[in-house]
């Protein structure tokens, strides 16, 4: 009984971390049809921002939830102005340019922070469930993911910005026709997407040893999750994160972490073969 509870928490945690890892990428892809391959490095920068801020004496939660998203969001804004905006409508070129950017960020981080593994410890203690100890931080991650999804829904449904965003997702030229500058919309979107990446990187930082190349571990997973999710932003994110998270954890428990990872990847191949437009390309059409 205790074990099944622990496993359930681990599965939920796996889904939540996939949602976090993918949210920034999903927002940018959903709104702008841009695949930001520097997404993993944005997360890495979020992690470093947090660690630096904590090192300067800032409260760890403020560092993770406020400073990291802001800093990475600003970096994203600069990147958008300097590089991405010249490449709108050229999907492959944007992917390549952001790939190049990811290498640049890795190089810069190496030069600034060095290649030694750094990290901070988790700010929440573990606790016991029956005979088992589980990490309290896992719950924190789950809560952050849930709040994030609810916040995204609320913004998209309830605000004017959300309305414009939904319009842009449906027909990019419509927003322009209604008098909203697509330039502004894209800037704002990229800021939000980058901030989300920064947030994810910051929140996950206490769990991993951070090195400048840490981003690479995230980007493939995020990329797969977003593409498999398909065109609907939130429904796609949730459905594919759930599928992959469950598959991954079940196989990890039953066999080993490697098989868990491979199972996730095989699931992705099968999924895309059956539904070339992603899960929400087939189901939940037209949902958010």
């Amino acid at each position: 009984m205790d074990l099944s509870f622990v496993i359930a928490v681990e599965v939920l945690y796996a889904v939540a971390s996939l949602v976090l890892i993918s949210a920034g990428l999903a927002v940018v892809f959903g709104m702008m049809k841009v695949i930001n391959l520097a997404h993993g490095e944005f997360m890495m920068l979020g992690g470093y921002t947090t660690i630096t801020a904590v090192g300067l004496g800032v409260n760890v939660f403020i560092a993770m939830l406020v400073i990291a998203p802001l800093v990475v969001g600003l970096i994203g804004l600069i990147v958008e102005r300097l590089v991405i905006r010249h490449l709108y409508g050229r999907l492959v070129d944007t992917m390549l340019a952001t790939w190049g950017l990811s290498l640049v960020f890795i190089g810069l981080a190496t030069m600034i922070f060095g290649n030694t593994t750094t990290g901070i410890s988790t700010p929440i203690p573990g606790f016991a469930v029956g005979d088992y100890q589980i990490s309290g931080y896992n719950f924190f991650i789950i809560v952050v993911a849930v709040v994030l999804v609810i916040a995204m829904l609320a913004v998209l449904r309830g605000t004017r910005a959300g309305l414009i965003a939904r319009g842009t997702m449906q027909r990019a030229d419509m927003a322009a026709a209604l008098g909203y500058s697509p330039d502004r919309i894209y800037m704002a979107t990229f800021f939000c997407g980058s901030a989300l990446s920064g947030l994810a990187g910051a929140v996950l930082a206490p769990l991993v040893g951070l090195v400048p190349t840490s981003g690479g571990a995230y980007i493939a997973k995020a990329f797969i999750t977003v593409i498999a999710g398909g065109p609907s932003l939130i429904a796609g994110l949730l459905s594919s994160a759930t599928s992959f998270g469950v598959v991954n954890q079940v196989f990890t428990f039953a066999i080993s972490p490697v098989i868990g990872e491979v199972a996730l990847l095989v699931a992705a191949v099968i999924l895309l073969r059956l539904m070339p437009q992603g899960i929400t390309g087939r189901f939940f059409k037209g949902k958010l």
Partner: protein, 341 residues
Amino acid sequence: MERSLGKDITATLIVSALLIWLLPMMVATYTLTVLVIYGMLGLSLGLIWGFGGILCFGQAAFFGLGAYTYAIAAINFGESTVPMLLAVLVPLIFAAVLGALMFYGRLTDVYLGVITLVVTLILFKFVNSTAGPQYVIGNARLGGYNGIPGFQTLNVPGNPDAYIWGDPYFYFCAVTLVIVFLLVTWLLRSSFGRVAIGIRENETRMALMGYDVAARKTVLFAIGAAIAGLAGALFANWGEIVTPGLFSLGQSAEIIIWCIVGGLGTRLGPILGAAGLAYLKFMLGQQSLIDNTLITGLILVLFVLFLPKGLVPAVAAPWKASFGRARRRPHARQRRKARHG
């Protein structure tokens, strides 16, 4: 594609003969050898991406597959001729199956990218976790992260003790590259190649003309994989060790960068891009002033922004323009966009 095939072959032969003669005087042959091998790897992606429009994020998978096939077969057979053939055939068949799976499923651009990327990751993760003694093929331990060292390297067919290594190995690789280059030239001039270019330009239109687009893309994809596999086998012979790093995303990324920098839609671009950037990487390894990753990244960003067609077309463009054949595709794009809007 205006010159005759004969002239093209002659030019290729003269230029490559000169290069094979001159280059060893300037750069050590073991460095040249790996540049030639990378050139072939670049060409393999340049063919399917530049002429077939298939952006494969996992070209390294075929490279690694070729190298591993060679290493495993060489350990089991104790000579190199059959392993070389297998190193071409195994990636060919693997790509044919994978290609059929993807192209008949009508997967395109991003989705295609994801699948090829995922397949590479799966191969990498699998090979990387084969350190245990239970992973054996014949006499060959797969070795996991450490890879497979100590296999039979290239020998004169029929005589396993007559090794081809050192300078002769460079000449062998260089001549192989020239042969592959000529085969690619011939392929692109054939109807198959022209149809492939047609498919790159407009898949729907080619299907509406009655071409089986999926079948043709599958074949082209498999040919690209075979070339990558050959490059992998040559690389295994050069390095005398194969490691899972050959399958890594980093390796795939480099191949794509070579093509972009060299120039897509040309045969020479990817080869020069590969050799040039690989050489740059070796040079950078001898300094520690600036981080090497940073430089590679900057090169890629700058090329995508300012020279998206790559070096070779950029150098060739002024010459072409004077004959009134310069492309003005952006115009066409704008026009089409205007209509759609």
